[in-house]
Every structure is written in C-alpha cells, then in structure tokens.
C-alpha cells in the first residue's frame, strides 16, 4: 500500500493536479472566460449571431459554442479540471491532516514546549508542595476548562488543554461542498425537467413540453387554471399577478392554490411558478339564418368556433376594444367548400353575409378579454443536494477561517537540575484572543510563583 501510493503520488500528472497553482490558474481562467457569456447574448438562434457579428466572428462563436457559453465543451472541461483539482488536492492533503489529527500532543518534552510561539518559564528555588501544585493547576483550569494530563513526561507532569482539533476537517467540507453542488446540479439536469405552458382560464393540462428536448412529459395529474388576476398600482406599475390553480387527480379535485410571483405551487415534486400572462380577446356573436334558426357562438383568438349543422366556422382576426366607444371585431367565416371571407363588426350593428345559397345575419353581442396564465413548470430532485452543498460551504468556510486549533501546555518538573514550571501554547488562528487567554494564566501563575523564584 505504501509503495504503491508513493509511486502514483510521484508522477508529474498527479503533482500537476495537486497544486494550488493550478487552482489559482483555473479560478482566474474561469473568472475571465465567464465574462464572454455576459457580453454575447445567450441562447439566440444561429441566424441572429450571423447577422449581429458577421461571418468571421460567427465562425468563432459556432466553434466555441459561445451562444451557450456555460454549457460549451471548453467550459465544461474547465469545470471538470476544477473538480479534478479539488479531488486530487483533497487526496494529497488527507494523510497530512490525519497525521495532524492523530498526533498525541501529550508526548512532547520540555524542550519542545520552550520552542512554542508562546512560552513562559519559572524556575523555583524550593520543591512545590501539594497545595501550591493544586493552586497552579486550578489557575490553569480556570481559564482552559477541561484538560488532559500525563505524569512522567520528561521527568515531570504535563497538562494539556486542546481545543478545535477537528477544525482541520473544515477545509474538506468547504472543498467538498463545491462537488456536492455540482452533483446536485447534475441530478437536476438528468432527473428533472423544465418547461413552460400558457394555460387559458378554465382549461387544464396534464402534460408539459420540455424546454430543452421538446418532448412531452406526462404529469400523471392535471392542473386547471380557474382564474387569472392582475392588479396595478396607482402609478401604473404591476402590483400582483395571481393564478387560482386546481390540481385534479383522475378528474377529482385534489386541492386549490392561488399562486403569485415568489409563491409557487408544488405537487408530487413538480413546481408551478407564475411567470407571465397574456390577454386574448373573446367575442360572442349571434348568427341567424331565419327568425327561428339562430345560434350564439363564442370565438376566441387563435381558435375556431363551429356551427356544424350549417357547416360554418368562425375565427377572430382582429379585435379593437374601442372604436367610437364600442368594441369592434374582424370576423372570418369559412365553409366546407373552402369559400371564405371576412368583415368588421361593431357592437350593436348587424351585418349580412352570404354563403352559397344562404343569407345569414350576424351581430356582435359581447366582447371581453380572456386571460392565459404563463406558468413555469419544473421538477428538480437535485435542488436539496444543492442546498445541502451551500450549507456545508458556509459551515466549512466558518470553520476554516474562524475555528482555531488551540493548545496550551502546563509542565511542572525538574529541568537542568532546577524545579521548573513551563506554560506554553500555540494556535493557528486568532492569535489576539489566544494571547489574552494565556496571559491570564501567566498572570495567575506569576502571582503564585513570583515569590518563590
């Protein structure tokens, strides 16, 4: 095991991936290359880039996938290198951290203690009796709290207060969190979907079109939009977009929810967001063949209304909400033989049109706006992994930078023939607070030992 590990760790490729230099290089490269996608508009049609940037630059854009920079092959390679760098750095550091973590800080001698960044030595003329030993220990304990001890260390007694040894693991959390976030993003990419739908009031859907692949994804339930509301502030700015939605399971209503921007609806892992809306006109016309044979038809934009018995179909071509104070609509009429025509109707006025042998009278009886709510629909089972990664990132960061590994030693014994008390310590972070604490012990020891020197 030992030999094999030393061979692979010596290869130059391993050392390349384990270097902080590579990390710094990749961070700078990612920072610079990420700018590209904020300057060049993303996700437009290829035609757009050809027209905007000209044929030469267009070739570069196409080659480097600059129309979708952050999913381009070279950006993914950079992210892959970044992840590899993280993993290899972690593997390289792991043995050192384990050694640091397992190190027994009680097996030191008095000479080592005097090489610590903080040290203080008292040489005492007479042997310490039990009472003064106890008072020294309690002065130590008062500041450090819990401690461990070992007798017969370098001919004396050693006390050690150690805190935050585990903080060496923080950096693994911090670096691992990035990989957790990447993993969460991949889970979302492969197991989730994103789509959108324009849903007219009163209608329902039971499938979604995947935005990326264009596939139809069955939901396994259906969602109906009961109503859409929009309200405005006095200054004309939009105040609220709201859709009243109903979830149906086998045509049975399961539950209702009103969604607004920032407050989506979730059902069986699928989330519905209020994203946009559209208002389309809807007119009602009265068509009469004779005094007894007539029909009232509602025509929506983009939809045909039929009078099957007469083999007529109607469409709404244009709509004007206000012509001389009245709504007006341009109506299209067609029949089975392919004959068609169109005319304008003003509300309240009657018109006549002929189809084949027959003469019809038509009038516009009602006109209103009908709303379609624009819903963003998403399923992302990876999102919780991403949130986990974010949490680990923050906790790891706080540990790495703010949790110190502190060690304070107190040694009492005979050194170079003299009875000696040594107080020493080391910390890897926040030296100021550490010195404050250890000075407190020093002061207490000074007052109890000072007279004996």
């Amino acid at each position: 095991m030992k030999t094999s590990s030393s061979t692979y760790q010596d290869t130059s490729i391993w050392r390349f991936f384990a270097s902080v230099r590579l990390a710094v290089f990749l961070l700078i490269t990612l920072a610079i290359t990420s700018i590209v996608g904020t300057v060049i508009p993303q996700g437009e049609s290829l035609q757009f880039y050809l027209e905007t940037f000209g044929p030469n630059f267009f070739r570069i854009i196409k080659l480097l996938h600059l129309y979708d920079t952050y999913h381009s092959w070279w950006y993914l390679i950079l992210l892959g290198l970044f992840s590899t760098n993280l993993v290899v750095c972690t593997l390289k550091r792991l043995p050192f951290t384990l050694k640091l973590y397992r190190r027994d800080n009680l097996s030191v001698d008095s000479g080592r203690l005097l090489k610590m960044p903080f040290k203080k030595e008292w040489e005492i003329k007479e042997e310490l009796d039990n009472d003064s030993t106890q008072s020294i220990i309690s002065a130590f304990k008062e500041v450090v709290g819990k401690f461990r001890e070992r007798s017969d260390v370098d001919g004396g007694k050693l006390f050690l207060a150690e805190r935050g040894k585990w903080s060496y693991w923080g950096v693994y959390g911090l670096h691992g969190s990035i990989l957790i976030i990447f993993f969460g993003a991949l889970v979302g990419l492969f197991l989730g979907f994103k789509g959108s739908v324009m849903l007219p009031e009163g209608e329902k859907i039971d499938q979604i079109v995947n935005r990326q692949s264009g596939e139809h994804i069955p939901l396994g339930f259906s969602v109906r939009c009961d109503r859409f509301y929009i309200s405005f502030y006095d200054n004309g700015a939009p105040q609220e977009y709201r859709s009243d939605l109903t979830v149906l399971n086998d045509d049975k209503e399961v539950f209702h929810k009103s969604i607004v921007v920032n407050d989506p609806m979730e059902y069986r892992g699928v989330t519905f967001y209020q994203a946009s809306y559209r208002a389309i006109p809807e007119v009602t016309v009265q068509v009469a063949k004779s005094a007894t044979l007539h029909r009232s038809l509602t025509i929506s934009a983009f939809q045909r209304a039929l009078w099957p018995e007469e083999q007529l179909s109607f469409g709404l071509m244009q709509y004007q909400p206000n012509v001389h104070g009245k709504p007006a609509a341009q109506i299209w009429v067609g029949d089975q033989e392919g004959r068609e025509g169109s005319f304008w109707l003003l509300k309240g006025n009657k018109k006549e049109f002929k189809k084949g042998e027959n003469l019809y009278k038509i009038s516009l009886t009602n006109a209103k706006q009908r709303y379609l709510t624009g819903l963003q629909v998403k399923k992302d089972p990876g999102v919780w992994i991403v949130w986990l990664g974010c949490t680990v990132l923050i906790v790891g960061f706080a540990i790495v930078f703010w949790v110190p590994h502190r060690r304070m030693w107190l040694w009492m014994g005979r050194r170079k023939g003299k009875i000696t008390v040594i107080l020493s310590g080391q910390t890897n972070k926040n030296k100021l607070q550490f010195e404050k604490d250890i000075k407190k012990i020093e002061k207490a020891l000074d007052s109890s030992l000072g007279a004996r020197q």
Binding site: P238, V260, V261, Y273, Q376, K378, V386, I394, F397, A398
Partner: protein, 282 residues
C-alpha cells in the same frame, strides 16, 4: 424643507464628504485632533443616515407600499454607503488606525453623492413590483451589500498597500504614518475573508430566492454570472496566499481588480447588459 428621509440623506451626503476631507487632512497633515473629529463626524453621519433609512421605511408605509428601503438603485446606493461606513468604523475601532478612513470614506461619500445628484437615479419611493415581493429581498440585499462594503474597504487597503510597498523606505511623511505592509496585508486578508463569506451568502440567498421566483436557482443571468466572476477573483486572492511569491503585492492587485468586478456586478450589469435583474437600474 420638511423633516424627511430625502432631507436627511442630502445632509448625510455633505457630512460624509466632510468626513472624507477630514480623514484626508488627518492623514496628510498628521493632526491627531482632526482625526478624532473625522471619527465623530462619521459616526454622526451614520446616525443621521440610519434615522433616514428608518424614516424612508416608514414613509413607504405611509404611501401604502410598505417595503424595506432596498428596492431600487437609489435605495441600494444609500444602503451601500451606510454599510461601508459601518464596516469601516468597525475596522477603525478594532485596529485603532484612522489613516484607513482616508481610503474608505470616499467610497461612501461618492456613492451618496452619485445617488443624490445624478439625473439617472430616481429617488422617489416606488411600489414593489411582483418579482421583488419576497421575504428574501432583505436577506439577499443585506448579505450582498455587506460583501460589497467589505470589498470596498479591502480595495482601499490594497491601494494603501501598494503605496506603502512602493515607498517602503519612508518611515516618515504621509507614507510613514500608514500601518506596516505586514499589518495592511493581514487586514486586507481578514477583510476579504469577511467580504467573501457575505458574498457567498449573498449568492446563496439569491439562488434560493430565484428558485422560488423563477423556478431555477441558477440561470446564468449576467448579474449572477458577474457575482460568480467576483467570487472567483476573491477565491483566487484567498488561495494565492498559499502560492509562493503571491502574498502581498499581487493580493493587493487582486483586491483592486476584485472591487472593479464588484462595481461591474453592481452597476455595469444594470447599465450595459440586459437581464433579469434590470429593475436595479431604475
């Protein structure tokens, strides 16, 4: 003029300009008393600005809108200036050096002056558009701006470091009174760590909010991307310490470049690029 938030903010603008002038005077002519006066004036400005922010919050309720004063460019700049002064005063209190004030308070006064006098910045209280109506608004803006403000101070420290490093022989004069390069380097590092944590939290709260509002926690919108670019720059600065020969001067440069990225994330994206965050430019 009545006792309103905009009156208090205009007052703050002049107080901060005065404070910046006092800190500069203190630094260049080395008069201790002027330094003390600068601190007093800055604290006074901060108090007045705090009252102003509270008042503006109340005023928005009186108008029937009712939202924290963090909803448009004007309010965000006032908040940026407020939090920069706050972060600076904490550092001054911790390290007891007023020279840094000459490099930090100008950022706060410039932000206030631009917010108050630029014709591009609309200073009226506006109602919240649906996209901004979220509990995440306050958390997102406060965390981001704590990051921005720390980076502003770190940039000031970086400039000081480069000055000091350039004329390292000077033990007297205006360079002599600056803290040692070692102290500046350590301070810069600590400030970047602090800012980096808040920037990270800002990006995360933004992601959580975006997931609620737009249905995706990350959409490579220019604002998001630029915050990530900024994050990369400061991550570089944090790792560069472990690369031989990179401590000190190069980190000072990174601190300045990082703040340029911050400024671009804050302003550049709004004015030069289009995206989902465009409400920040009004």
């Amino acid at each position: 003029m009545t006792f309103s938030s905009s009156y208090l903010f205009s007052l703050t603008t002049f107080i901060y300009l005065g404070a910046a002038a006092l800190y500069l005077t203190h630094w260049i002519f080395r008069v201790q008393k002027v330094g003390l006066l600068a601190t007093v004036v800055t604290v006074g400005g901060l108090v007045i600005q705090t009252v102003g922010l509270g008042l503006r919050w109340i005023e928005s309720y009186q108008l029937g809108y009712g939202h924290a004063p963090l909803s448009n460019l004007y309010e965000s700049m006032v908040f940026f200036s407020w939090i920069t002064v706050l972060v600076y005063l904490i550092i001054e209190w911790q390290v007891k050096r007023r020279v840094i004030g000459a490099f930090a308070t100008p950022f706060a006064s410039l932000a206030m002056a631009y917010a108050s006098f630029s014709p591009n910045v609309e200073d009226e209280i506006q109602p919240l558009i649906p996209a901004l109506k979220s509990n995440w608004l306050i958390a997102h803006v406060v965390t981001c701006f704590l990051g921005y403000a720390s980076f502003a101070v770190a940039c000031g420290l970086g400039i000081m470091y480069l000055f000091k490093n350039r004329f390292s022989g000077a033990s007297e004069g205006i360079i002599g009174v600056m803290p040692d390069c070692k102290v500046l380097d350590e301070l810069m590092h600590q400030t970047i760590i602090f800012g980096f944590l808040w920037l990270t939290l800002g990006i995360i709260t933004g992601a959580v909010w975006a997931n609620d509002a737009w249905g995706t926690y990350w959409s490579w919108d220019p604002k998001e991307t630029w915050s990530l670019i900024t994050w990369f720059v400061y991550a570089t600065a944090l790792h560069a310490r472990f690369v031989r020969g990179w401590a000190g001067r190069r980190i000072a440069y990174l601190s300045i470049v990082g703040f340029v990225a911050v400024m671009f994330t804050y302003f550049g994206v709004n004015f030069l690029l289009s995206g989902l965050h465009s409400y920040g430019s009004q």
